[in-house]
Amino acid sequence: MNQGTQEAGKQPEQRGEALLEMRGLCIEGESDEVRVKIVKSIDLTLRRGEVLGLIGESGAGKSTLGLAAMGFTRAGCFITDGSVVFDGVDLLNIDDAQRRKIWGVRAAYVAQSAAASFNPAHRLIDQYTETPLVHGVTGEAEAKSTAIDLYRRLRLPDPEHIGDRYPHQVSGGQLQRAMTAMAMACGPDFIVFDEPTTALDVTTQIEVLASIKKIVRELNTAAIYISHDLAVVAQMADRVMVLRYGELVEEGETAEMLANPQHPYTKSLWAVRSLHKEEEPGEEILLDVRSVDAAYGAAKVLNDVSVKVPRGRTIAVVGESGSGKSTLARVITGLLPPLSGEVIYEGKPLPPALKTRPKDLLRRLQMIYQMPDTALNPRRRVRDILGRPLKFFHGLNGAARQRRVKELLEMIELDEQFLNRLPGELSGGQKQRICIARALAAEPDLIICDEVTSALDQIVAEGILKLLLRLQDELNISYLYITHDIATVRAIADSIVVMYQGEIVQQGLKNEVLTPPHHPYTDLLLSSVPEMDTTWLDNLLAEREARKARGEMVLESSDQ
């Protein structure tokens, strides 16, 4: 195939006729008797064999739109206007029985969390065969053989037998691929992928992305790919629609959009990853973790881990899930006393167990959690959440406490109107800011940040990171920042600790670690971060294959 035909193949009119058309679609959602417009008059066309990327922050209405493409709305949502025409049939004007004939057979859905979407009581293969059998597409034996074929195409290990396992017996990445296989079971015309890799580690994400991309191309299935991660969508989609507040911001061919975004909002999305901090080596060592071993029961999770945190600097601890980075935080905070080794704080050993630590030490070590939703008591108001540590650690009462709470709110760039809110009345980013303020209220020396931005959208996350940097400048706080996201590390770290299976494989100043030569695991981690380039995934896979062919050692994700 020469260059010319390849170009032509990318032209939309050559890609086949329209399969799905949405015209002027409006969806409203009801909560507490208030109707909110979630999707505001969206037009969308999906052609046969085309992958359309939907990008937006949470609340942009992309999932609602994705479900509406199948003629489905969640409970509490109502389609108020517009049409959804799938292959000549208006999905909104047929009854449930007719819609059911389309769902699963001609249109399928892959949800964000495969772990929550599988029935834990049935084997994978039985859940796979259910749809073809119910719809009478194939018999059981045939369904099983196509399942094995799909498992193989999706590069699942041991495709003949993996279907006999239960959902908890396979890893998250495998489960997500098994769910893609289920969606493919009846050979649908199109599939809606709703953030299928968001919950996965970067190293695992690659495998799932590669598998989905391969199978969608091979079977020429059309797809709507929903994500908030631009770099991921860049790999998958032919065409991209950017949504915001339920409205279309911009639409175009992927390569063109990446190269030349028009709308300021799109540009700002593109610019998010540009945050960068110059590294500075610290002088005074605040916290010194010395060859710590730790275990949960018989399972050893930390093996001879030593980390030094200088005052006023940020140490990023990087690694995939299960690498022991959160366990390290638990050892430092005293929730999990180590088996051996010790933690030195300002030259003195920290008592290993939480209960034996004096109040003043507890005050100096604070923690911020990954999920702001669960880190704040939903029944307490912001005023009480921030007021408690002030009273507890500093004995502040009455007017003095009120004043300090307001100061704290100011520090995290929120104003007084938030004082009486419950956590449920805050957005994700605002909640995380309150968590930061709660930690600040104690006036700590060190804050342990456990993946504090991974549950947030990119733009919101950037705001949080900027806030953390500013606070470090003003208050000279140290951060131990746990993350699996290299972009975040680039943004805020002074030095990096790379962890793999409970051990530290590499550590040093940021630039030392990020410039080659790397430890093979660091290399895998770094190369797995999607880039804003439509050819990145293909190039990366080709390169890894080539290196394997040359007999070089290529470390792969533990979640294969």
């Binding site: 609340g59 104003d415 980013g429």
Partner: protein, 304 residues
């Protein structure tokens, strides 16, 4: 879809302070309660009205009742008449007056018993979920032992050992019923204990009391309140059953359970008077269940 983006990339400073999530305007608790009540299903409204009537009757019994509780006002088993609306009982006391005073005794004692059961069972359940380990095991197994013996029979045995005073009755039933409360409170608070905000409170060095009362209790309150309604019915029925068997509230105090027993012979003559206290028991039980159903539905998150 409640998570609105909280910064506007074009004008971040302004947008950050803007309302990101629509906050319902501040209403007083009474307004909210009134609004909820008006929208409640008919069954729940009916239940609430009935419960309210029982409370009023119980509180103002001396004002409402035509005679006193134990006054002998006529001959035995008088039929219904203008003077004695529901006739008289086996000693010649006015049936209606005793029904009204019975609300005070039966419902009042059941209410206090349930409160004590919840204080014991609720606090131990939450404690077991926080402490875990052996403390959880010991409490859990102790509860298993108590629950292995049928409640009514166990209560009968204990009452015949300790004697049948009102205080003994209340304490024995409260302890036996607290085992059921323990199980529920432990189960629901297990789900809360694992939340990060509880860990955050621990890391801050907060004591057990604070964690129980401030962090966990407010979050398990809805299922506990619903359970309170159901438990109340069971306690109420247990006390009535014990009274019927002669070991509950002792004469001459008016009590619906013993009133059924005392007048049971009338059934043989086709007189429905003994069914009136039974009906009073049934009506209250049904009313409480209607309200609990509605409350559970409201708080279980099913509406979303």
């Amino acid at each position: 879809m409640t998570n609105a983006p909280d910064t506007d990339p074009v004008r971040p400073e302004e947008a950050l302070l803007a309302e990101a999530v629509p906050v319902p305007q501040q209403r007083s608790a009474w307004e909210t309660a009134w609004r909820e009540l008006r929208r409640a299903p008919l069954s729940a409204q009916f239940g609430l009205v009935v419960i309210l009537c029982y409370i009023v009757i119980g509180l103002f019994a001396p004002l409402i009742a035509p005679f006193t509780e134990n006054e002998l006002v006529g001959s035995q088993y008088e039929p219904w008449s203008d003077q004695f609306v529901f006739g008289t009982d086996q000693l010649g006391r006015d049936m209606l007056s005793r029904l009204i005073y019975g609300a005070r005794n039966t419902v009042g004692i059941a209410f206090f018993t349930t409160i004590i059961a919840f204080m014991i069972g609720g606090s131990l359940g939450v404690l077991a979920s926080i402490l875990g380990g052996w403390a959880d095991q010991v409490l859990g197994r102790a509860v298993d032992v108590l629950m292995a013996i049928p409640l009514l029979i166990f209560a009968l045995v204990l009452l015949s050992i300790f004697g049948t005073s009102v205080i003994n009755l209340v304490l024995i039933i409260a302890v036996l019923d607290s085992t059921r409360v323990f199980r529920l409170s432990r189960a629901v608070s297990m789900n809360v204990v694992v939340m990060d905000f509880v860990e955050a409170a621990r890391l801050q060095g907060e004591g057990l009391r604070w964690i129980m009362m401030r962090e966990i209790l407010p979050n398990i309150l809805p299922p506990m309140v619903a359970e309170f309604g159901l438990r109340f019915c069971f306690v109420f029925l247990t006390i009535s059953a014990l009274s019927f068997l002669g070991l509950g509230i002792q004469p001459p105090s008016a009590d619906w359970g013993s009133m059924v027993r005392e007048n049971a012979t009338l059934i043989n003559y086709g007189d429905i008077t003994p069914l009136l206290p039974a009906g009073a028991i049934a009506l209250l039980t049904v009313a409480v269940n209607f309200v609990v159903d509605w409350f559970l539905h409201k708080t279980s998150g099913l509406k979303e």
